[in-house]
Amino acid sequence: MNWFTDTLGTSIGKKLMMALTGLAFCGFLATHLAGNLTLYVGSEAFLSYAEHLHSLGPLITLAEWSLLTLAIIHVATGLTLFYQNWRSRPVRYSVKKTAGGRTIGSRTMPYTGILLLLFIILHLLNFHFVDKTGTNIWNIVTDTFNSGGYIFIYIIAMIVAAVHVSHGLWSAFQTLGVDHPKYTPFIRGLSIVFSVIIGIGFGFIPIFISISV
């Protein structure tokens, strides 16, 4: 192996890949949310946003393939780490209490991650791999959120995403080696604020659509 794959292959190397791909996803979530806020304005704003996005042409294709690549790295590495960590303690404690370090987010990373993966597949089936002839994306969105089941799934998924990111964002900085008494409290706070914005910003879309349309 060469120096590059060797460096990424160790425990810290794998963590580095998790952190970089995870941070890229956080950036994606932020832009995705900014775009989706047009849904709160109405059909015209949303459709013109969608049109602008698609007018980017090859750039959008590039972004899609990049996201897919990042997702494959994040999921494959995440599952590998999960398996290795599960194997690293063959005999479990009969009594185990936290000393106060863990959070709901940090405890559940692999589980929220797997749920997110399932959700992302469903989400793409709902809005990406659909026949758009004779209709438009606004209609597809409003039709989907006509169903109580979808509203429920989407809200739960956004809570799951918020929980994942509440640990993930801070954790990625720590993994990258950014930890200092001066700014770590800020980064930890930012993770919580960011996850609340993601959870509320996305989570209210289905409710808003089902009430207003």
């Binding site: 120096w3 580095l16 960590n85 370090g101 405890r107 080696g177």
Partner: protein, 255 residues
């Protein structure tokens, strides 16, 4: 008048490394609250010996919180419920009369249970052997200020050097990762001028060794720094990560 308490212990008993092991219940009677946890175990062991039973094997040496030999998981907490305390410095006044206490050995794939509460922590030595040293003779004491060390660096190195290698970080980590230990050892040397020349080689070799010895991967759960009897901070893990990236991406270091 010293206060005494009676306790029920649920202790892990295992004859040897090959034995399956199981929990056994025994009583600890008339325990003075001035005793340390290990002294309480001594009293229980005396009783067991008198009854012709095998005493509970546990590791210990200095009994003053500096050697790093002692340590078990007490009611789900490494070194018991007190912050910044080794098991030998945990006093029985922190327990109430009638309490039931579960006592288990450190659990990790990299730490084999040898007998009862005694585990083989030589995997930590393996990490040190991979590079936790400087390979030139330090020589005699130099004149003061020949090698200037800024005070904050000296303080940080000293904080990292407080690690006594007890293994509580591994035991309390949900992933049985040794990154706080490795981070402290790598930081301690990387912060000082004598350690700099081999910093890249050391970071690389120690991380590789840590992985090969079967420890888990850090997921930044922060349980280790909360349980560390020397309260070593995870800023040392971040520093190890930086040293590792420098070694992997920017140094001439070949694995």
């Amino acid at each position: 008048m010293t206060k005494t308490i009676n306790l029920t212990l649920k202790v892990w008993r295992q004859k040897n490394a090959g034995d399956k092991g199981k929990f056994e219940t025994c009583q600890a009677r008339n325990i003075s609250t001035d005793m340390s946890f290990l002294e309480m175990l001594d009293v229980v062991n005396e009783g067991l010996t008198v009854d012709g039973k095998e005493p509970i094997a546990f590791d210990h040496d200095c009994r003053e919180g500096i050697c790093g030999m002692c340590g078990t998981v007490v009611n789900g907490r490494a070194h018991g419920p007190e912050k910044g305390t080794t098991l030998c410095q945990l006093h029985m006044r922190h327990f109430d009369d009638g309490d039931t206490i579960a006592i288990e050995p450190w659990r990790a794939r990299a730490f084999k249970v040898l007998k009862d509460l005694v585990v083989d922590r030589s995997a930590l030595d393996g990490i040190i052997q991979a590079g936790g040293y400087i390979s030139v003779n330090a020589g005699g004491a130099q004149d003061a200020n020949n090698l200037p060390v800024p005070q904050d660096k000296a303080d940080k190195a000293m904080d990292a050097a407080q690690c006594i290698g007890c293994g509580a970080c591994v035991a309390s980590c949900p992933n049985a990762s040794a990154m706080l230990f490795a981070g402290a050892k790598i930081s301690h040397l990387a912060l000082l001028p004598q350690g700099r020349p081999e910093a890249a080689k050391r970071a690389w070799a120690m991380v590789k060794a840590m992985d090969a010895l079967g420890f888990g991967n850090c997921t930044n759960e922060r349980e280790c720094e909360a349980e560390c009897p020397k309260e070593i901070s995870i800023v040392n893990i971040a520093r190890m990560n930086r040293e590792y990236y420098k070694a992997g991406f920017f140094s001439g270091e070949k694995n």
